[in-house]
Amino acid sequence: MSIKTYAMAIHDVMAEEMRRDKRVFIMGEDVETLGGVFGCTRDLYKEFGTERVRNTPISEAGFVGAGIGAACAGMRPIVELMYMDFTFVAMDQLLNQAAKTRYIFGGNARIPLVIRGQQGIGRGNAATHSQSVETFFMHIPGLKVACPSTPADAAGLLRTAIRDDNPVMFFEHKALYAGKGEVPDDPDFTIPFGKADVKREGTDVTIVANLLYVGRALEAADELAKEGISAEVIDPRTLVPLDMSTITESVKKTGRLVVVHEAHRNAGWGAEIASQVTEEAFPYLDAAPLRLGTAACPLPFNLELENAATPQVADIIKAAKTVLYRE
């Protein structure tokens, strides 16, 4: 075990995998001398050269598509998007090309491609640089979707992503990069996709959260504990594949569900979880599942407005109490 930041965990796994497999390479904006705007590729070009740690022009559709082509032709590209909001300028390459190619080619293609980058609030980046866009990639089939909330998860899930023969959307969170945690040193440490992590066991209410909101949910659980409410906190870790059984089993035990994410609440992935839980565990539900997410407005620059737009710990506590009829 080593103590690492989330950013360093990502950095180190990329370095290790590039050492292990010469087909792995990185491309993206400013990944070379600058080491990425968030430092995830810092100094990698020194070891691996600028062919394998490759600055790109500002042409996201072009280099995401180039990642697909390179993957089809035997490489294993890691494409860094500086902000996952920029998936929007490359959406066709992601949703029509990367996601569909294997299937529509009758299974005659493998696309070992990782698209990674950060998203979310936390740096005052406002409307076009703070969004949480993972739901899109859950809706259109063909891409795996990972969302690590800790340094260890970042390491284990990223290694799985790089070794996976399918395209993976890998969502980091800008406000998590500096956070530290233990990361196994095993160079083959992986976390399987489709395995939720029960971050805290509890009996009264199940709280499902990802990325930044895992921490906020745990904070809420601490507060709830003080009031005698025992919350189980679950991080699905991957949305595709999705470990519904862990979530459903939990709700069968607690009878109550709150899903909280930074993605917009409206038509966000929380609705899918809430719906599936309702379908699968209806007789066990003591209350309607509640969902928290970002409000139905673009993320405003002003910090107070941003806080008002996004779920706060107090909102999670309130939702938990609501499903427990304790309010």
Partner: protein, 324 residues
């Protein structure tokens, strides 16, 4: 002059494409084949000539008008026709149809129903070839209309700055569906856009096998020697409607007739006879066997089974682990 074996392949493939497509039209008209089918009739010289330079290891990425490229790159007419009919025996198990047909085993990265969608992908294959230093070359086919998509620009710039082994082949058939190139494209010769990337751009008569051949040869050598990409524009013409039943209010019958006079197959036929490379009998034999192959392909496809609906969710993801 093109070497005899390659000349034969070119002439064969032009005929195979033509016969395949006319067969597809008749199947469509008799309701045996459905969906969006974009025909290449009249443009055969481009695919046949370009692909005559390529091995199975070289890559192409194609377009919605992809049968010609697919066949010229080595597909059997059986597998291609079965795919057009959505049969389990098709190249893509009936999942892709005409618009997404692909045969990766021959280096065909697929037709692409998104205009401009395949250009970055071909560029990426060229990047892989460069990184693997394996001497492979990529060809990106696209239309005049596609040259106005952002992906065209981004890909040509990428390929130029990275000096990738790729040739961008623009099939300028003067229209994007109903829109004449003059109305949508700010330059008369799309090849001038090479200047925007510091790469050679050349326009050739896309119905003239030898003109295409010469330009492509130069571009291919350039790509293989590490000097980077070339943009080749082939001026040609689509004889048929954009889709079967297209009323074609956007062009005159005369214009179409005029271009039919410039048939690339007839033209190359005369050339081959003139040069004395083949006898008329030899060429007739090639034409006849192309026709027979297309007929057999139709029978094959018609008698092939549909895919099993139980296979619906297969292949969305590759289920194996690390490929290493």
């Amino acid at each position: 002059m093109i070497e005899k074996e390659r000349a034969r392949r070119i002439y064969q493939n032009m005929n195979r494409i033509r016969c395949f497509e006319m067969k597809a039209v008749s199947l469509f008209e008799s309701n045996k084949l459905r969906g969006s089918v974009h025909l290449y009739v009249g443009e055969e010289a481009v695919a046949a000539t370009v692909c005559s330079h390529l091995s199975d290891e070289d890559y192409i990425a194609s377009t919605h008008r992809g049968h010609g490229h697919c066949i010229a790159k080595g597909a059997t007419l059986d597998g291609a026709m079965a795919e057009l009919m959505g049969k389990a025996t098709g190249y893509c198990k009936g999942r892709s149809g005409s618009m997404h047909i692909a045969d990766l085993s021959k280096g065909n990265l697929g037709a692409n129903a998104i205009v401009g969608g395949g250009i970055p992908i071909a560029t990426g294959a060229a990047l892989a070839s460069k990184m693997q230093n394996n001497g492979r070359v990529s060809v990106s086919f696209f239309g005049d209309g596609a040259s106005n998509e952002g992906t065209f620009h981004e890909s040509l710039n990428l390929a130029a700055v990275w000096k990738l082994p790729i040739i961008f082949v623009c099939e300028n058939n003067l229209y994007g569906i109903s829109v004449p190139a003059w109305q949508s494209t700010s330059v008369k010769d799309i090849s001038v856009r090479g200047a925007a990337y510091g790469i050679p751009g050349v326009t050739v008569d896309g119905n003239d096998v030898e003109a295409i051949d010469e330009a492509f040869h130069t571009a291919y050598e350039r790509a293989r020697s590490g000097e980077g990409p070339t943009l080749i524009e082939c001026k040609t013409y689509r004889w048929l409607g954009h889709w079967t039943g297209d009323p074609q209010p956007y062009r005159t019958r005369e214009e179409v007739e005029e271009w039919k006079q410039k048939c690339p197959i007839k033209r190359y036929r005369s050339k081959l006879l003139e040069e004395g490379l083949f006898t008329a009998e030899e060429l007739e034999q090639i034409e006849k066997s192309a026709q027979e192959e297309a007929d057999r392909a139709a029978e094959f496809a018609l008698s092939s089974p549909d895919p099993d609906p139980a296979s619906l969710l297969d292949d969305v993801f590759y289920e194996g682990g690390d490929a290493q």
